[in-house]
């Protein structure tokens, strides 16, 4: 799975060296920056212009039956993951659970959120169970239940950041992270944590701010033109969903985790890391850990360092932008621009895991027929296999570069629009964007370097 994940196929006939793509991407960003400065004089995205879809469309696509059905499907799939993980074969490629969790759930839901809006909210099994339990309790008590605790402001998105970090650690650090039983156990533990969170602070409060995957997919869905609000589907101006994001404590950290985790996944293949990791592992072995634990801890240090590096780079750019004036605090300005990191996080995921999604994603067709890996053939598709010719290596590279460049141009546009809205003097707005340009070029160069590491 790892080989496919990182596109370990040699690109043979690119017309220019890979690093030159990085230079070209930087030029595209610079031209975009100049174009924005001269052709985009007023903020256009700060107001979320939204119009509801026609009533007949809403009646079909957004009704209570759909809610119950989607929630039921989510709960069913949660059950299948745990059942196949605990009861099925412990081969990670022959069992339904790892591919479903790491590929379909973690990756395929990202483009689905961009295309169709916050689909995970509809299918979220924990939210569905929480709502049913609350309804049953209300009905049994024949009265409204006591209000749960108010969600602490300082907690913000920190539980979500911790949840995504834990998921990344399970996937990238723990040596048995792809073992079906591990996946099922992690799902069970995460479910328990989510139920406690919902019981303490209420279903919607916890889902909207604390539940890692709800917050994660909601951030991506803000790039979508489709949005469901107050039970009604509508269309909004493209990109206007992100400026409407109201960052809370931990939102910057969450974005740093999202980008840092992919960064570490790519960097873990680079000689820079493979040379350092044994030394860190040796340090932990010297304090008495087993070789396996020492190596896992070394990888955890690497993952944490990647997240810190991403956060520090962003904060450095914000500090630079702050130096041009405007009277903002570091925290205030970092929150005001944090939505610009969402398209960057998106393209990091899209570019890095493109091949994993395209190739391993096909496996769900035969794994669904044989979830336990015991030879059953429920849907008659168990004999299918992965078509490795679906995407060539050069096409993959061009798509990855296109994703990276497009995402960073979008980020630059969002930052420019926000700067025009928050700085009183247009000159300060443009000057603050010099720093955002450096951030975008930095993340672009890093993304392309990481992708190149899978081609060594």
């Amino acid at each position: 799975m790892t080989l496919i994940a990182h596109g370990l196929v040699v690109r043979s006939d690119l017309p220019i060296p890979e690093w030159l793509f990085g230079w070209a991407a930087a030029m595209v960003l610079f031209v975009s920056f100049v174009a924005l400065a001269s052709l985009w004089p007023e903020p256009k995205l700060q107001e979320e212009r939204r119009r509801p879809l026609p009533d007949r469309v809403n009646r079909v696509l957004s009704n209570r039956v759909d809610d119950v059905l989607a929630g039921g499907i989510g709960v069913f799939l949660l059950g299948v993951v745990m059942w196949s993980g605990f009861k099925g074969t412990q081969s990670s490629t022959a069992n339904f659970a790892p591919t479903f969790v790491y590929v379909i759930f973690w990756l395929a839901l990202v483009p689905a959120s961009i295309l169709f809006g916050d689909v995970f909210r509809a299918f979220n099994p924990w939210r569905a169970i929480g709502r049913v339990v609350a309804w049953v309790a209300r009905t049994a008590a024949r009265t409204d239940l006591p209000a749960p605790l108010p969600y602490p402001e300082r907690l913000g998105n920190w539980p979500a950041a911790a949840g995504i970090f834990a998921f990344a650690a399970l996937e990238l650090v723990y040596s048995e992270g792809s073992k079906p039983e591990t996946v099922a156990t992690a799902t069970l533990v995460y479910s328990a944590v989510t139920f406690v969170g919902m019981a303490l602070y209420g279903v919607e409060s916890w889902i909207n701010r604390g539940e890692a995957f709800s917050v994660y997919f909601n951030l991506f869905s803000r790039l979508s033109a489709v949005e469901r609000r107050d039970g009604q589907l509508g269309l909004r101006r493209p990109l206007s969903g992100l400026p409407a994001l109201r960052p809370v404590a931990g939102t910057v950290a969450l974005l740093a985790v999202m980008i840092g985790a992919v960064t570490f996944d790519g960097a873990a293949e680079a000689s820079l890391w493979t040379n350092i990791a044994p030394h860190i592992a040796e340090f932990f072995r010297n304090v008495g850990l087993s070789p396996r634990d020492a190596l896992e801890l070394a990888f955890l240090v690497g993952l944490f360092a990647s997240v810190l590096l991403v956060a520090a780079f962003y904060q450095l750019g914000v500090a630079g932008a702050r130096s041009v004036g405007g009277g903002f605090t570091q925290e205030n300005l970092s929150r005001l621009f944090v939505h610009t990191l969402v398209p960057i996080a998106l393209v990091y995921v899209a570019a890095h895991y493109l091949t994993l999604l395209v190739f391993q994603g096909q496996a769900v067709v035969f794994l669904a027929s044989d979830p336990l890996g015991d030879g059953s053939n429920i849907f008659g598709t168990a004999g299918r296999s992965i078509d490795h010719s679906a995407l060539g290596s050069n096409a993959t590279w061009y798509l990855q570069v296109a994703f990276v460049v497009t995402g960073h141009v979008i980020a630059l546009t969002l930052a420019h629009d926000r700067a025009l809205a928050i700085y009183e003097k247009p000159r300060e707005a443009v000057r603050s964007q010099y720093w955002m340009l450096v951030i975008m070029v930095g993340f672009t160069s890093l993304a392309l370097w990481l992708l190149s590491q899978s081609n060594q």
Binding site: A26, L272, L437
Partner: protein, 40 residues
């Protein structure tokens, strides 16, 4: 010695980050000129 032996490898890696360094240098020069002009 090892450093030189692997020069092709890390020089290629550095090449990816040349645009970042170039933009930082440009930003540094811009700020220096602005401060100098303000000082006058």
């Amino acid at each position: 010695m090892v450093l030189i032996a692997h020069a092709g490898h890390w020089l290629t890696s550095i090449a990816y980050f040349v645009p970042v360094l170039a933009f930082l240098a440009w930003l540094g020069v811009t700020q220096f000129i602005e401060r100098r002009d303000r000082g006058r």
